[in-house]
Amino acid sequence: MHELIKLVFLPAFANEMLSPLSDSAIGNFDGYKIAITTDAFVVSPIEFPGGDIGKLSVCGTVNDLSVAGARPIWLCASFIVEEGLPIETLERIANSMRHAAIEAGVSIVAGDTKVVGKGACDKLFIVTSGVGVVQADLNAKHIREGDVVIVNGYVGDHGIAVMSKREGLGFETEVESDCAPLWSLVESLLYGCKTLRCLKDPTRGGLATALHELAEAASVCIEIDEDAIPIRPSVLTACELLGIDPLYVANEGKLVAIVSRDEAEVALSIMRSHPLGKHASIIGRVIAEPKGQLVIRTTIGSRRLVEPFSGEQLPRIC
């Protein structure tokens, strides 16, 4: 997919707002710093423990704006509906979008609906775009050696919750998706923490890919401690059964924050006092070498590189 973007879309559209390929594009307009983003949602199944494609489509876009330090204000939503989808299902999903939007403090102000023939899409696809007003300059370029890496809770819940309901892969687990709008948590961090360098939401590709991207963008090494990463025992067990690494499993209500060492405890306590950060944990640190790499200290004391996600490990997870 990355290759497609590089080979086809970047050459076609290249401009200075697009080229960094960050979660949101940021531009100045009439004295305001505006963030804009868009995301397509094709998750299967469309309803899963802890959420559905509607909630996901609001949270995903809200979170892309939030981690860019932007207060989300408006969303647009387009629906591609497969002929035959029960109207009750669509109502349930619209309702869940409404709740998520209220929670995130955004309005869905424009949209489009297309109904396509049976087989032309799978039940329902949603595309959301969002606009936010930038409140803080968060950027991987601010990351410094010695900074600390914090995650706001258990990783891997979303991917495992969706996988557990996949046709042909059914296994029983009580895990629910962590799908949630992160703006209010981000806002608390922005107010309480002066040295917040940057934020990132570890969605598709999981924690490993998100941290790897940060290390690469900042030209530093991020070192994480395997023992410190919060993973639910049920998620760990499901990952072992499926032969996948929880570090690559998608999250939809998680963020990683990089802050200065001096403010690590402050940031941690802000997170832990927020409902979406109760299980926040310091999971690592920024070191000098090897530049652009993510390194893990394993439970048995060895150190190895962690590669970013590649290939098609979990298709249609968001």
Binding site: G168, L169, D227, P233, L236, T237, E240, G243, D245, P290, Q293, V295, T298, T299, I300, G301, S302, R303, R304, L305, E307, S310, G311
Partner: protein, 364 residues
């Protein structure tokens, strides 16, 4: 009991490592013969914490990797026949054939379905009575019972549009065979935990008694593997060669008789080619005559030209432990998981994939 985290305890690992250090006087090479072990060793960085004198090498433990190039070419050709749906485990999709992989073939229009269980392939056959569903049947003793049951189910339902491409293999004959190679030097085996769940401990006895090689059946968590290394070093220190079972919480000495019964109801041993090891007597499984109408090779006439592997690809030597992935001139340069040349780089249990994905960095 959570069955995972307690077997990853760093403080217990340290204690076992102290004992291992006391025993590691002489250089020795231990071979793991299971792809899951290969991945676990790399993922937990076990090589790095072991004394330098202990060398861990991978054997023919990845079922995708030991499948020959001609088998791969042949089932891709079957997939290209009109009306055929190829059902396969996901690992096979990216493995390069002589010209193309299944992934490339899919992009050119052949119908490839990834399944997690052979029963899903049977279900596909039920759902598509007008198509011919061919399941690419690979795997060792662990995977084969499920395939055998799926075939028995298909027979019960008289499903005549379900077939398998038979390429299942047996581990113990390959372990014996690789000891006959001049370039292979192994002082002890970390035996496969999952396979042993089915076959039990007895099939390894000749490797210990006739070939004098210590064998320890091991689990897949870091403490399991470290304990297995310790047990092997103890045998080596005291000049013993026996079969021990470290994975007693899962593997019973007698194995799983019901599973073996299912295998041998449907299959019988035959001599087959392994990548890297050549023809090994009684190391494969073919359908018994009662079930041979499910054999895709007897139902589809495919001719593939003689195949050749990339001249520099070291998968063959890596699969018998005569080389490690970093010895290969193509490793991480011409051959990467995105653009694999040999199967060991692309299978989720391949030694090259493990080395590539979990590269060690110094402890400082």
């Amino acid at each position: 009991m959570r069955w995972v985290s307690e077997f990853r305890d760093g403080s217990i690992a340290k204690l076992i490592l102290e004992r291992i250090n006391e025993l590691a006087e002489h250089e020795c090479t231990l071979m793991e013969v299971c792809g899951t072990h290969t991945m676990a060793i790399a993922r937990f960085g076990i090589r790095q914490v072991l004394p330098k004198s202990i060398r861990l090498v991978s054997g023919p433990g990845c079922p995708v990797c030991v499948t020959t190039q001609s088998d791969i070419d042949r089932f891709i050709s079957i997939g290209q026949i009109d009306g055929v749906v190829l059902a396969t485990f996901g690992d096979m999709v990216k493995v390069p054939g002589s010209k193309i992989s299944l992934r490339d073939a899919r992009a050119h229009g052949i119908d490839v379905r990834v399944v997690y269980s052979p029963f899903e392939a049977v279900e596909l056959a039920r759902q598509m009575p007008n198509r011919k569903v061919v399941f690419v049947s690979i795997g060792f003793e662990t995977t084969t019972p499920g395939i055998a049951l799926a075939i028995m189910q298909a027979e019960k339902e008289r499903l005549r549009n379900f077939f398998i491409y038979p390429a299942n293999k047996l581990v113990p004959p390959a372990m014996k065979a690789l000891l006959s190679f001049d370039d292979v030097c192994v002082d002890g085996f970390i035996c496969p935990g999952h396979v042993s769940t089915i076959i039990g401990t007895r099939p390894y006895e000749p490797i210990a008694t006739d070939y004098g090689k210590p064998c320890v059946i091991a689990g897949f968590e870091p403490l399991d593997i470290l304990q297995a290394v310790f047990m092997l070093l103890m045998q080596i220190r005291y000049g013993q060669a026996k079969v021990e079972n470290q994975y007693r919480r899962v593997v019973r000495p007698e194995g799983n008789e019901a599973a073996r019964k299912a295998i041998y109801e449907v299959f019988e041993p035959n001599s087959v080619e392994w990548r890297g090891l050549g023809l090994i007597e009684c190391s494969g499984l073919k359908l018994r005559s009662k079930y041979e109408h499910f054999d895709a090779l007897l139902n589809f006439d495919v001719q593939v030209p003689p195949t050749s592997e990339h001249p520099e690809c070291q998968c063959g030597r890596i699969l018998r432990g005569a080389a490690v992935p970093t010895d290969c001139p193509l490793f991480a340069s011409a051959c990467t998981p995105e653009h694999p040349i040999g199967p060991c780089m692309v299978s989720s249990e391949g030694a090259c994939a493990a080395y590539f994905r979990y590269r060690e960095v110094s402890l400082s």
